[in-house]
């Protein structure tokens, strides 16, 4: 136990990864990878048990999720055409519903995040998501799957590798609340009010800022949902509410103790004309989304889904200080790494 504590303290003091050989050889990395392996196995078991089919996601394509918050896509020269490395599989997830009603990926994603995010402790330029999409699903359906998935994964990992949690000095009691009942739900408006109440200047028209999210999360002892983000804070594929224009039918799931966002999801927009208009509202050029718009024009089922950040989830489970500690080959934004 004493050994484990010293490992954690030594790692926590370091803000950026050590050389790769040192990182891969550390007890902390090993323990985190063993926990992550349990997460992956449990997620697959759970989702297959709920009738989802696992597909392997594409790595590159003519277009990818335009994303948000200032990250940059990486280009690849594909036989003379400019292709993108996937920032997320959202466009393909929607199209995949033509094959199966319930699908999931364990998807690698690459986003050249702004350099400022190297200090958030929860950004990696290269990371993975457990990506879920449900045809004919509602937001409530997607939130339900996310909640059950998280609960199942935590319960499984605690039971499967208790010695790894012990090695990392992560107290299983930290998850007592998570395992004991349903997660709270706040609207974005309520979250903004809560932040204002804490003296934090959060814009009511924007995504909740990293530090605001951390602050909100630090006041909670179990995961909680934030719903109904304002238009202008998320991508064109998040469906706008018909009863409350300007609000999106989306959600984030945030971990407690300051760990922040684990999941982003929404009901998806599937109406062709609305998608084109929303693309303009998010400053996108519809012309470059041709294959996607063609598919949408032909018609795909309405759906809901989410992406759960694998490294963020593992960080929350391990209680480690920074998300790079739970990736075998970490790439912190702005840092050149193997």
């Amino acid at each position: 136990m004493e050994h484990a504590t010293s490992v954690v303290t030594e790692q926590a003091a370091r803000r950026t990864p050590p050389p790769l050989s040192e990182h891969l050889g550390s007890d902390t990395t090993r323990a985190a990878m063993r926990i992550q392996q349990e997460v992956l196995g449990a997620a697959r078991d759970f989702l297959r048990g709920e009738g989802f089919v696992e597909l392997l996601p594409p790595v590159i394509g003519p277009v990818t999720d335009p994303g948000a918050r200032g990250s940059k896509q990486l280009d690849v020269d594909y036989y003379g055409h400019r292709y993108k490395v996937m920032t997320s599989g959202i466009l393909y997830k929607q199209a995949s519903l033509l094959a199966f009603d319930k699908i999931f990926y364990i998807a690698p994603n690459v986003r050249a995040e702004p350099v400022e995010t190297c200090n958030t402790r929860r950004h990696l330029a290269e990371f993975h998501q457990i990506d879920v999409e449900i045809a004919h699903g509602t937001r409530a359906d997607a939130m339900g799957v996310a909640e059950r998935l998280l609960t199942h994964v935590v319960r499984h990992a605690l039971a499967a590798v208790p010695e790894q949690f012990e090695l990392l000095a992560r107290d299983p009691l930290a998850f007592a609340w998570l395992l004991s009942g349903p997660f709270d739900v706040l609207t974005h408006r309520e979250a903004v009010e809560a932040l204002h109440g804490l003296g934090y200047a959060q814009s009511p028209d924007a995504e909740i800022e990293w530090t605001g999210e951390e602050l909100l999360s630090s006041k909670k002892d179990r995961p909680f949902f934030v719903t109904d983000y304002p238009k202008g804070s998320r991508g064109f594929y998040d469906r706008e509410s018909t009863t409350e224009p300007g609000r999106l039918r989306n959600f984030d799931l945030l971990a407690p103790e300051g760990y922040g966002e684990l999941v982003s999801g929404s009901e998806r927009e599937s109406d062709y004309a609305t998608i084109v208009t929303r693309m303009r509202e998010t400053g996108e050029n519809p012309a470059k989304y041709r294959w996607y718009l063609d598919v949408m024009r032909q018609g795909v089922p309405r759906s809901a889904g989410f992406g759960m950040g694998l490294e963020r989830l593992t960080r929350f489970l391990t209680g480690l200080d920074a998300v790079w500690q739970v990736n075998a080959y970490p790439k912190v934004p702005g840092e050149v790494a193997p």
Binding site: A68, S71, R82, P114, A206, R280, E281, G283, N285, K288
Partner: protein
């Protein structure tokens, strides 16, 4: 390089002679009698040129300044420092975008960037620079966006100015804003609050159209996936490249601005409007959505190359744009054939916070790559000081509609309050 329909000779003279060019040749002092037509075009090219600045006799603000200074104020007491679209600027002036026309992306624009930095005024980098010339294909490149950023930063006082990067619909393919925002090279600008992004809704020379430029055939082949190309000159060296103007409604504009603020919280947000008939509504929409500045580009031409049909017949003149906007609800910037102090002061009096130099800046740098823009702007600044103090005022913000008289108007123009 030629700039037709533009007082090119006078701009070149200022680029070489600086503030001395605010006066007739000093050798003529005491020997010649001057009338009205020494400077300025006849007939005036537009309503703003036809208007006159009208100093009052009684000057309460001069009295305030006198009390403040404890002596009679002079033109040198006019304080030109101005907050321009979220930046601190040494002058109520900024460098407009040159775009990707051959002129606008040449070494001339790098020289202009260096001088804008040294002057402490904000600079806008035009649309399509990245899709056409690339960002950093060659890190030692002496032109292109990165070269301009570096030239500006190397010369600038870190407490003054700022760099504003435009993105149009085609630029969205190249993700110019994301590229700059996530680039370590832009970190000094971000850290100092000196980076901005400009949403280009339209432009003065071609209201309602997107960018039109002539590309050589090799460059055209490279960008053929992004742009529509027309081979109008079958035996000529180039082809016409048409950018799309992009579709806007009030909801699209509002949401794009919010999206920019959401995605780039550390950047200032500027919006550039063409002189459309609903310019007042569009400007109000932009400010309401949180834009730090709205630039109105009067239908007076620009560095962009325009079809003949548009040059004299399409779009509102700058004076009418300013009149329709009235008292701006935010920082209003005006561009369109500004090159000297009179037009600048008129625009400032009619509601603008600052004026942009486009063609004039290019011409000045063409005349003298090392100092041309600096001298042109020093002359303009000197004239702004002279005229502002003549109006009994000592900051550009104090100028107002009462200072301008339009021929044929019974009274002075309505008094516009600045935001």
């Amino acid at each position: 390089m030629r700039a037709g329909g533009f007082p090119e000779e006078q701009v070149r003279a200022r680029a070489l002679g600086g503030a001395a060019e605010a006066f007739p040749p000093v050798e003529t002092y005491g020997h010649e009698v001057f009338g009205q037509d020494v400077s300025g075009p006849h007939p005036p090219r537009d309503e703003l040129d036809a208007a006159r600045l009208v100093p009052p006799v009684f000057m309460p603000l001069r009295l305030e300044k006198l009390i403040d200074l404890g002596r009679e104020p002079l033109q040198s007491d006019v304080d030109l420092r101005t907050a321009v679209g979220g930046f601190s600027s040494a002058l109520p002036v900024f460098l407009s975008a040159f775009g990707s026309t051959r002129i606008g992306s040449s070494e001339v624009s790098v020289a202009a960037s260096r001088q804008a930095g040294a002057l402490g005024i904000p600079m806008v980098i035009g649309e399509n620079v990245v899709p056409v010339t690339g960002y950093r294909r060659d890190p030692s490149a002496t032109t292109g966006m990165l070269a301009r950023l570096r030239a500006y930063l190397d010369a600038a006082d870190p407490s003054l100015g700022g760099v504003v990067v435009q993105q149009s619909t085609e630029d969205a393919d190249a993700e110019v804003w994301n590229l700059v925002y996530s680039d370590p090279a832009a970190e000094p600008l971000l850290a100092g609050g000196r980076l901005g992004f400009e949403l280009k809704v339209g432009q003065g020379a071609k209201p309602g159209l997107g960018g039109l430029t002539v590309l050589d055939r090799a460059t055209a082949a490279r960008v053929s996936e992004q742009f529509a190309l027309d081979d109008l000159w079958s035996r000529g060296p180039g082809v016409l490249r048409s950018g799309s103007p992009g579709t806007f409604t009030d909801e699209i504009l509002r949401q794009q601005i919010r999206f920019m603020r959401n995605n780039f919280p550390r950047a200032r947000i500027w919006v550039k409007l063409h002189p459309g008939r609903d310019v007042a509504r569009a400007a109000a929409c932009a400010w309401e959505a949180g834009a730090d500045a709205v630039t109105v580009d009067g239908a007076e031409g620009g560095t962009g190359w325009a079809p003949r049909a548009f040059l004299d017949h399409v779009g509102l003149p700058l004076a009418e744009c300013l009149r329709r906007i009235g008292s701006p609800a935010g920082c209003l910037l005006a561009t369109g054939r500004v090159w000297e102090g009179v037009r600048a002061v008129k625009a400032l009096a009619l509601g603008a916070t600052a004026v942009g130099l486009g063609r004039a800046a290019l011409t000045a740098v063409d005349a003298d790559p090392e100092h041309g823009l600096r001298r042109l702007v020093e002359c303009l600044a000197f004239e702004v000081q002279l005229l502002t103090s003549a109006l009994g005022k000592y900051t550009p913000a104090a100028l107002s509609g009462e200072d301008v008289w339009f021929p044929g108007a019974a009274d002075a123009a309505p008094v516009f309050e600045k935001a």
